[in-house]
Amino acid sequence: MGKKVSSLSNMALTLIIITMVSGASLGYIYKLTKGPITAAKEKKQQQAIQLVVPDFDNNPTQEMYKIAAEDGDSLKVFPAKKDGEVVGVAIESVSHKGFSGDVKIMVGILPDGSIKNYDVLEHKETPGLGTKMATWFKPSDEEGSGSASGNAFFNWMFGIKSGGSGGNTSIVGVNPEKTDLTVSADGGDIDAITAATISSRAFLDAVQKAWSTYNEKADSYSSATTKTNNTEEGGQQ
């Protein structure tokens, strides 16, 4: 056995060999996993698009285009078409007003300007508080993991009443043209997540940004939404 002597050439040679071998094997693994990694990312995006727009028969990822928001971000727009007609758009929007880091969402807008659904793609908000944004802003029967959850037996035993959160928390089906998409603490129409007003603000900011940017920049939609949008949105931004 006997360890090698720690001479300069020995040490340098050992380190060179070790780093070369590990570099080569990492390169090989990278090549192997590169395909599946992009596929997994694309699948996630695809699922988010499917969730937020009505049925479509085109490939929204291929027809994706970018629009520039007022604050310099570029938002990705995925148009969903059926028989050549636009049935909705999925917009990837981002807000920098989150509690910690950016909040990235996918929001679907119907041709009449109302919001179909949304999906939270990426965020670093507080677990248990800000993370509730994934379900909070959906209609309460969809809230699933929210207040209405829990084992029926335990709920009965501890006298827990399952009930909605009350108030107006849903943004689904809402048209930002008529509804003030800010939290009620700021005078808006949407109730913020309990104890997570900042996360709620960030989320609604991202939705609002997607909506107003799209209505300002895109021309493929009915002109009605575009017109009213310019008069109303100015004060809110």
Partner: protein
């Protein structure tokens, strides 16, 4: 050395979390749910076993003075492999563990076993040691995650036991990790000495 003793010491006698208090960063960071703890534990186990194997194989060729950098390169390579494979095939888990996967590199448990065990023992013993320590680590992380998930959001492994609104938020956040770890450590040590 008795291989069974060698294997089982990681669970109770020398549990990396409750007894040796190694690898506290992922222990406190990712255990907000049982499944996260288990995922992190298994990822660490893989790295631990692989690095123990390689270190035990090459220990005679590495000069004394550069052993630590050599071990770190070996460990970092396996961590990167885990990171890429997980991103490709388990994207949901990768997202949940996120930042903590690259941090396995500096988990002192992995380097500690490479330095204290694998570089002094045979290949077979090193594999057994890596498995035992890694699974002991996984067990501890899963226990901690289960306790925090139960008190924090009324669930274990995502299975809802009581309403989330009755959960204590503090257990999901960082202070809850310290509190739960403290009580679990006290409990395990009490049982261990009894």
């Amino acid at each position: 050395m008795n291989q069974w003793k060698n294997f089982s010491k990681g669970f109770f006698k020398d549990n990396p979390v409750f007894v040796m208090l190694l690898g506290m960063c992922p222990t406190l960071g990712v255990t907000s749910s049982a499944i996260n703890g288990l995922g992190m534990g298994l990822a660490t186990t893989f790295v631990l076993v692989m690095s123990n194997i390689v270190v035990a194989l090459v220990k005679d060729f590495i000069p004394e003075k550069v052993r630590i950098p050599s071990f770190i390169v070996i460990i970092a390579s396996f961590v990167t492999v885990v990171e890429m494979v997980m991103q490709a095939y388990l994207p949901a888990l990768f997202e949940a563990l996120g930042l903590f996967i690259p941090l396995i590199v500096v988990n002192c448990l992995v380097l500690g076993r490479a330095e204290a065990f694998a570089s002094k023992n045979t290949l077979g013993s090193s594999v057994v040691d890596g498995l035992g320590m890694g699974l002991g680590f996984s067990m501890a992380l899963t226990m901690l995650g289960a306790v925090r998930e139960l008190f924090g959001s009324g669930k274990i492994f995502g299975l809802s036991l009581f309403s989330e609104s009755y959960g204590m938020l503090i257990f999901v956040l960082a202070p809850g990790a310290f509190i739960a770890l403290g009580y679990l450590t006290a409990f395990i040590n009490k049982v261990r000495k009894a």
